[in-house]
Symmetry: C2
Subunit: 359 residues, 2 copies
């Protein structure tokens, strides 16, 4: 029989950050698709929408009025998933049955942050300078939580597109801050700690080294600059999943070293989001999030390394998404093309947004 | 301040089967929904569709013709995610960099199983006797894999409804069999083993005891019979997630003790799927799967306990699903109503299917 070929044969890959596996079936894209088609997000929107609760000057659900903001604007979510204002949780007893009904109270705060006063723009079409404003606002909000009691973790994330459950196209992200350190960051903290103990080096520093310097042809690198690299991780689950990773060992946004790194982060965010939109010439739906050091009082110099995850939903076209359903929920995530194939597609995409091409 | 109330205050609950947490924000259902609406699966379908590759007598993608089957029918997936026929995978070296690019080959087989020759029926509307045929076919296929080399795990699952990525409404499930034991069952095996070592009893036996006997009012029990119980687990992620659990310690389908348990399993599957359809008077989309002992050569008497998971997608109505997106992907699954509230809704639903009510 022929040799084992990652582009032909089924295999699973290990995610060292979460210590889990993903099944990769590269030949599966040949399967015809007769299932659900999504509506492509190609609607033309006005730059101001009087019924949008995020546009400048408009009223929100609870009656507050948004200021006439120029760049970014932050407020507390009117329907927050976590709040400060709740009683303390009483732990239950400790027999074997109570270990089956284990719970804990979660205090916290949910913020919404508008990226721009313009209703009809997305990060992919924003200028680098406008993205710098967003990053500066992220830094400020993140820094602030170090001094707020009961908050130990700050999760910044963006749901983009209706198929990602986003209910308002106005460009914005959310910031959910909790007393608990959530599941995914916890897994990463554990893996990074183990890796550091074994190798006396940072898992993501080593991974960046591997992808940008040790491997010829850089099969998973999409784009890079002096401070950041964007790759389809070897263990990616979503078809076009990528990670932006800091090249130097910074544990969080506040460790970014001045203008240059700020500029480089904005640059790479702009470039990857623009490439996404160009893959299928549509506004590419995704969830994006930042992983960085918790804001608790511990030392995170060895278990955290600033990175952003992009989990985009589409598989074949602007209307056919990847469903992570039966097998994925019950057994193991399964992907239909290799991360290297995805990287190649993304590398071929222009960094000029398709809507701006003929301008 | 008032007392902590699971129905009012945010908390997280621990899933002892997968050793992970889920954030529960009970007040969040009050949030208005302006996001994506799904098309409800209310189409009227014919009982035979000449273009369906699962209907009796029809041709499939690769040219095979389906027999004129009467109850169930099994064949190998024409676009299988795993196959027997591939070269052996060569492991790579063992330095720290290769630990970041860890992979393994996965051989296996993917089967499709039709539940009924009728194109326009779902499990929720099938008779108990018809469901018994399905279970018997599951038992046979599962038993068979014990003697097939390179297969260690058999995952039976059903994607129901277009929003669960199901591309054909003809009632069917899939059976993916692999050399590797996938991620989710592995987590459960580990947790069950740990629990057994600590308590000298089975985690799910104890959980059944707790939910059906030790707790007054049985807040999470939806329905039960002599051999099975259906509950919204304390740690459920999906709004209407349920588990069917065997009351006695059977590790797999082949340990079901004759007619009675077979009958009881069909009974409870019929009852819960029927209740699902009645919640929003629509064909309720879900992914369902069976967890049981691996088909490898090890002893699973203490780490496996037959159960079925139902992961239904809807949250508010037949057209508004729950999105597990940004926060859920990046941080932690989050739910908007408590499992106890979901159980109450499901308990109130009839076990006569809404379409059959006036017959
Ligand atoms: O094999 P199907 O039903 O065409 O495909 C469906 O189920 C698979 C297993 O859960 C998923 O990987 C696919 O994304 C989904 O569309
Ligand atoms: O808060 P939003 O944007 O209305 O809600 C969206 O994001 C949340 C966080 O990922 C999810 O829990 C919701 O299901 C989704 O619809």
């Amino acid at each position: 029989m022929s040799e084992f070929d990652f582009n032909e044969h089924s295999h699973r890959r290990h995610n060292p950050l979460t210590n889990s596996w993903v099944l990769c079936s590269p030949h599966r894209t040949k399967r015809p698709w007769q299932g659900q088609q999504e509506a492509a997000d190609n609607e033309t929107l006005p730059s101001y929408d009087s019924s949008c609760y995020l546009c400048p000057g408009n009223k929100r659900a609870r009656g507050d009025t948004n200021p006439e903001y120029q760049n970014t604007f932050i407020f507390t979510n009117d329907f927050a998933a976590v709040k400060f204002d709740q009683p303390q949780f009483q732990h239950n007893s400790n027999d074997k049955f109570s270990s089956l009904l284990k719970a804990e109270g979660v205090r916290g705060e949910c913020k919404v942050m508008c990226f721009s006063p313009k209703h009809n723009i997305t990060v992919a079409e924003m200028s680098k300078d406008a993205i710098i404003h967003v990053i500066q606002a992220w830094i400020e909000v993140y820094r602030n939580y170090f001094s707020i009691p009961h908050i130990n973790y700050v999760q910044i994330f963006e749901n983009k597109g209706t198929i990602m459950g986003c209910s308002n196209p106005h460009p914005h992200c959310q910031i959910w801050c909790t007393e608990s350190i959530p599941e995914e960051p916890t897994k990463e903290l554990i893996s990074m700690t183990k890796y550091y103990e074994q190798n006396k080096s940072c898992l993501l520093c080593d991974y960046v080294l591997l992808e940008t310097l040790k491997l010829q042809d850089k099969p998973r690198v999409i784009c890079e600059n002096d401070s950041f690299v964007c790759v389809t991780p070897f263990w990616a689950t979503w078809p076009y999943e990528t990670m932006i990773i800091a090249k130097s060992h910074v544990t969080s946004l506040i460790e970014l070293d001045g203008e240059k790194q700020l500029n480089d982060l904005a640059d790479i965010i702009r470039r990857i989001t623009c490439r996404y939109d160009n893959v299928f010439k549509c506004s590419f739906p995704y969830s994006m999030g930042i992983h960085q050091a918790p804001v608790d009082e511990k030392d995170h110099s060895h278990d955290s390394h600033l990175h952003l995850h992009f989990y985009p939903a589409l598989l074949r076209s602007s209307t056919v998404k990847k469903f992570l359903v039966g097998y994925e929920m019950l057994a193991e995530p399964q992907r239909d093309l290799t991360p290297e194939q995805a990287a190649e597609t993304l590398r071929k995409c222009s960094e000029i947004h398709y809507k701006q091409e003929n301008m």
